[in-house]
């Protein structure tokens, strides 16, 4: 089975963000970078699928400047077999459509049986790239998956997370694309021997100009910090009424009572 995992390099979310001089994105200068959290679930799921099926090959793809290679090495150390680094010095200038076009241009004709992406990136958070890639390749795309099983014979049963803690079971026949949500799995540590082995794995660099297709269909014109509002939500009323309100909010906004 041929598996593709797409990953993005994003700033550590504990960083102190500054708006860049052009006012349209954040300043990347002093930030520490990590694999996008949702993409780590994608990597882990791909590796688990390979462990289940054997005889599979996982390609991890990332678009970005030189620095993304270090994160790709981590994905290789977690169990991906080969890496494709699409060299692009300013990936943040591209919108979801442009990024998806690049990924689709790479994947087209390579006959991947299964594609995993994060359900969104922690920085832009559009949640569109994976689904757009599925559309461009003519594959079924199942979004925000929280459980995944392969029944062999290219058939998958997955659970999706819906609003309000509701879940849906979806059956799909491959080739297919899945976008991975928090709770899908616990990504493994790249062990020291696997970090050493990752050095010897193929990591190919492709200039973005070889893959680029359409340009942006939307542009971010301004990035800003929201004005600070007063903290929290204050519930008022009698105690039984308060309890009902709280339970309703917990049911709607969280899964703790699901």
């Amino acid at each position: 089975m041929k598996i593709l995992v797409c990953m993005k390099h994003v700033p550590d979310m504990e960083s102190k963000f500054k708006i860049a001089a052009d006012g349209r994105w954040y300043d990347g200068g002093d930030l520490a970078w990590r694999i996008n959290e949702y993409d780590e679930y994608a990597v882990e799921q791909a590796v688990r699928l390979k462990e289940q099926l054997g005889n599979s090959d996982i390609t991890v793809l990332s678009i970005g400047p030189e620095r993304v290679k270090e994160a790709m090495k981590k994905a290789l150390a977690m169990g991906c077999d080969r890496g494709v680094h699409v060299l692009d010095d300013r990936p943040s200038d591209r919108d979801a459509m442009a990024i998806a076009t690049i990924i689709a241009a790479f994947a087209r004709g390579r006959n991947f049986d299964c594609i995993f992406t994060g359900m969104q990136s922690q920085d832009r958070g559009s949640g569109q790239v994976g689904i757009l890639v599925g559309e461009m390749l003519g594959l079924p795309a199942v979004s925000t998956i929280v459980d995944f099983s392969c029944n062999g014979d290219n058939r998958y049963t997955v659970k999706r997370e819906l609003e309000g803690g509701v879940r849906a079971v979806v059956e799909v026949r491959g080739p297919a694309l899945f976008t991975c949500q928090l709770g899908l799995n616990t990504p493994r540590y790249p062990t020291l021997p696997n970090i050493m082995k990752a050095k010897k794995k193929e990591l190919l660099t492709v200039p973005v100009t070889e893959l680029a297709g359409t340009g942006n269909v939307q542009d971010t014109v301004q990035l800003f910090f929201p004005e600070k509002k007063g903290g929290g939500l204050l519930l008022e009323g009698e105690i039984p009424e308060l309890a009902d309100k709280l339970i309703a909010i917990l049911k709607e906004k969280t899964t703790v009572l699901a």
Binding site: K69, E70, K73, Y189, P190, T191, I195, M196, K199
Partner: protein, 381 residues
Amino acid sequence: MIFELTEEQNLIRDMVRQFAETEVAPSARIRDEEERFDRALMFDRLSELGLTGIVFPEEYGGGGADYISYAIAVEELSRVCASTGVTLSAHLSLGANPIYLFGNEGQKQQFLAPLARGEKMGAFGLTEPAAGTDAGGTKTTAVKDGDSWVLNGTKIFITNAGEAETYVVFARTDKNAQKHHGISAFIVEKGTPGFSFGKKEAKMGIRSSPTMELVFENCRIPASQLLGEEGQGFKIAMKTLDGGRIGIASQALGIAQGALEAAVNYARERKQFESPISRFQGVQFQLADMATQIEASRLLVYSAAFKASNGISYSQASAMAKLMASETAMRVTTQAVQIFGGYGYTREFPVERMMRDAKITEIYEGTSEVQRMVIGSALTR
């Protein structure tokens, strides 16, 4: 000269840090309180992550990485729990490394490989009641009897003792030789008749790391478990300690780094006179000195580790690294307690534990005085 970690070293740091913060840190305080060693966490997990044999070649079950990677691993573990850091350091540098450096092929396959893979834990028995810094004063004896050696004597203050399966032990094999020349090294396994453990030490710090006596009473081991050559023991001990100092320097570095981060976070939150104390220049100057000393220590530690990996003589470099890092750890942790004020003196906050843990780094694997002797004698030779 390039002051930059490699991709691989960065990946190892990220991996060990994530493990340390997620799995080791949560129980550090309670393990210290209860003086409890948790083997599943503090050793078996390290084995699963491939850390128990970092620097040894793959053919002996090791990871094939360099000494900087090893230093980083001990540093990151010690940043949250100095007891876990020393468990790895004593196992790898003191238990396994002398077998790697001086063992024959059979000994490496039989004893080093299980240590490197983390199936067994290692320890090192040199110190005796009357022979600490003066290792030449070793009183434990080993007498050749046919195809065996018979050991008698007591070793004290042995890190990992009781838990470890494989011990490198030093004993006098020639009473007539000058004191440094009559000592030999042996590999002794837990469970050998005549080999038992004495009392467990109640310590000031690193309380989650076991420290016990080794007792040898007519303990008979096969002649094949002599490590290196007869009479070579003192040299083996000194070479082993050169490497061990990189481990302890890394431990000290990690303790200091953990204390600095705790102090910075606290100073940002703690308000006095209606302002976070981090805004006071008096506090900023203290933090600045702490950070500067830590960074200087780090460069010395990584430089000694670089030499160790590249076949450059590193005895003096590791002594400097250990001297600087351990004294920095003591100063920085004491200062961190000061910044925390009364809260820092309570066991609710980690800095008092770090201060207690730091002290031992100025003492074991060569006191600060011994490091100065090593550096001073190299300068004036």
